[in-house]
């Protein structure tokens, strides 16, 4: 399955999961699904049949609240039975409302509290550098979580040790729970902040799979930060760039409309 189709199916799954279980965060899942589809489905050296391979790349999703999107991509990519998605968030499920590593193939780190995955990834990458292992570590951050100081502590370390094996992708959807990022606690000039911390920075359209693929494939002797400009709620017109869809749960009628848009308008997500 190509990554565009993977993302399209994952969007439908994530919407269905949130609607059926009453879980929030669908907007944040839809904004990052294209990035996740390209990482898991193409660029990262990972696959469902070798989740314990010592040579695999490490993918860390720091924005743990995008769990429905992460699980939807992993489920559609064959990391675990698709029917695991049916009881997402419900009593006794394998899959919790924030990204959980325990017993979930393909997930390396449980997250949910923000600002945790980048230092963890830096530690993993430093270990590989000491051991002379050429493995890549991908860390997916939300933009809102960049208010957490621990990210910038990790960014200092990544640059100080020249960790070219670390690639951060920031899901720059410009919305957080109570408003626009620039109104809540401004991040701009955001790319310049990463540059000032010693990172190589590239800005891309975070829904353009070719652009994501190309940016992620670039290697450097410095850590790279890809600012993926995205739209929160991407793929469902009434959710796009709407602050409330961080929190709201689509009802059955809204779910039907959303799925119809994703099933009929496959060009919604550029290849």
């Amino acid at each position: 399955m190509d990554t565009t189709e993977l993302a399209r199916r994952a969007r439908i799954s994530a919407l269905t999961m949130c609607s059926q279980s009453g879980a929030s965060h669908i907007g944040a899942a839809l904004s990052v699904i294209d990035v996740l589809a390209v990482i898991y489905g193409d660029v990262a050296n990972v696959s469902p049949d070798r989740v314990d391979d010592p040579a695999r790349d490490i993918v860390l999703v720091s924005k743990g609240h995008s769990a429905s999107g992460v699980y939807a991509v992993l489920g559609q990519a064959g990391y675990f039975p698709l029917d695991w998605l049916d009881d997402y968030y419900l009593d006794g499920s394998h899959l919790g409302g924030h990204v959980t590593a325990h017993g979930v193939p393909g997930v390396e780190l449980s997250t949910g509290a923000l600002g945790h995955a980048l230092p963890f990834g830096v530690g993993r990458a430093l270990t590989d550098k000491i051991d002379g292992i050429d493995r890549r570590v991908f860390v997916v951050l939300s933009d809102g979580e960049c208010a957490e100081g621990s990210n910038w502590e990790g960014a200092l370390m990544g640059a100080h040790h020249g960790l070219g094996n670390v690639t951060v992708v920031v899901d720059r959807n410009r919305l957080q729970i109570l408003g626009r990022t620039e109104d809540v606690l401004g991040l701009e000039p955001f790319p310049d902040k990463w540059r000032a911390f010693g990172w190589e920075v590239e800005e891309i359209d975070g829904h353009d799979h070719a652009a994501i693929r190309r940016a992620l494939r670039v290697r450097s002797d410095r850590p790279r930060a890809i600012i993926a400009n995205t739209t929160k709620g991407k793929g469902v017109d009434f959710m796009e760039d709407k602050v409330e869809w961080h929190t709201l749960v689509p009802n059955a009628d809204q779910l039907a409309v959303a799925i119809a848009q994703l099933e009929t308008n496959t060009t919604e997500v550029p290849a």
């Binding site: 963890f120 990834g121 430093l126």
Partner: protein, 308 residues
């Protein structure tokens, strides 16, 4: 004790390439030798404790055994969520090492008083908690920590603690160690404040009260049966710790005895529930923060006569 720790880690690293020493830009004159001997196993993470613990967790996920070293509350309370989520949630073999237990950095002020750490760290799932009384117990604790892959907290004093043992005791089963024999009452101690218990025992001996002093460096998992056995034949247990009595070592003993239905009288002694605003060295502060030697002595004597 901090020198003993670094020396012990130096020795252990000789045949264990997984050992890593991470420091938060602290340990001047203490950690340099380790860094020179094992440059690939040493990392100064700067003044960035949240990142340091996250980095340690990432290293542990690759099979390393990181020791995260700083002083007072900096490696414990500052990165508490990283310890909880990155380390304990994932059951990773990271050891948090804090130098300056209790009021060891007395004159530096309350920011540098590690007086709530036992309570907070021992509540974390799977976290082992060690509070050695001297350099020998410190060495033994490092061996016990390395023999088990789970998270650990090592609470160190500072330096020049009097030796309680001629050789490292066996801490693998967590059993407490009798340091001074006595038959009337047991004072059970976690940490270097054991010197005060010995002083109290000496003073009470002159008054005709025979005090048994027992060191209990393994706070979690607490070996309750061994603690009970160590106090056998005495009227009860007075716990002593340089730490708030709220949730600390004494609480651990009380919990362990209560859930087992054991009716041994227990009196927990520790620091008062108050932020310290006065300035002074460790012993000077002890006298004024709820652990005056005279107060401990009188409390032990009164506890003994009440329960006789």
């Amino acid at each position: 004790m901090r020198d003993a720790f670094v020396k012990k880690l130096n020795e252990s690293a000789a045949d264990n390439p997984d050992i890593m020493l991470l420091v938060g830009d602290l340990g001047f004159g203490v950690v340099a030798d380790f860094g020179l001997t094992y440059p690939k196993q040493f990392l100064n993470c700067g003044v960035a404790e949240q990142s340091m613990v996250g980095i340690a967790a990432g290293m542990a996920s690759a099979g390393r055994r990181p020791f995260v070293y700083s002083i007072a509350n900096f490696p414990t309370l500052r990165p508490l969520e990283q310890i909880r989520n990155d380390v304990c949630y994932h059951g990773l073999g990271v050891t948090i090492v804090s130098v300056g237990a209790g009021l060891a950095y007395g004159s530096l002020g309350y920011t540098h008083h590690a007086v709530e750490d036992i309570s907070i760290l021992r509540s974390l799932p799977g976290m082992r908690v060690y509070s050695p009384a001297d350099a020998m117990e410190c060495r033994a604790a490092v061996d016990a920590i390395l023999a088990d892959p789970s998270p650990a907290y090592l609470r160190l004093g500072k330096n020049k603690e009097p030796l309680m043992h001629e050789a490292p005791p066996d801490l693998f089963q967590g059993a407490p160690i009798v340091v001074r024999e006595g038959s009337d009452v047991t004072v059970l101690v976690a940490g270097p404040i054991i010197v005060q218990a010995l002083e109290v025992a000496e003073q009470l001996a002159e008054a005709g009260v025979s005090v048994r002093v027992v060191s209990c460096p393994v706070i979690k998992p607490l070996n309750a049966e061994a603690v009970r056995d160590a106090a056998a034949g005495t009227v009860g247990i007075v716990t002593l710790e340089e730490h708030t009595v709220l949730g600390g070592f004494g609480s651990a003993v009380l919990e362990a005895f209560a859930v087992r239905g054991w009716r041994t009288p227990i009196l927990p002694l520790g620091l008062a529930d108050a932020a310290t605003h006065i300035i002074g060295g460790q012993e000077w502060l002890r006298e004024r923060a709820g652990l005056a030697t005279s107060y401990v002595r009188d409390s032990v004597a009164s506890f003994t006569s009440t329960n006789a």
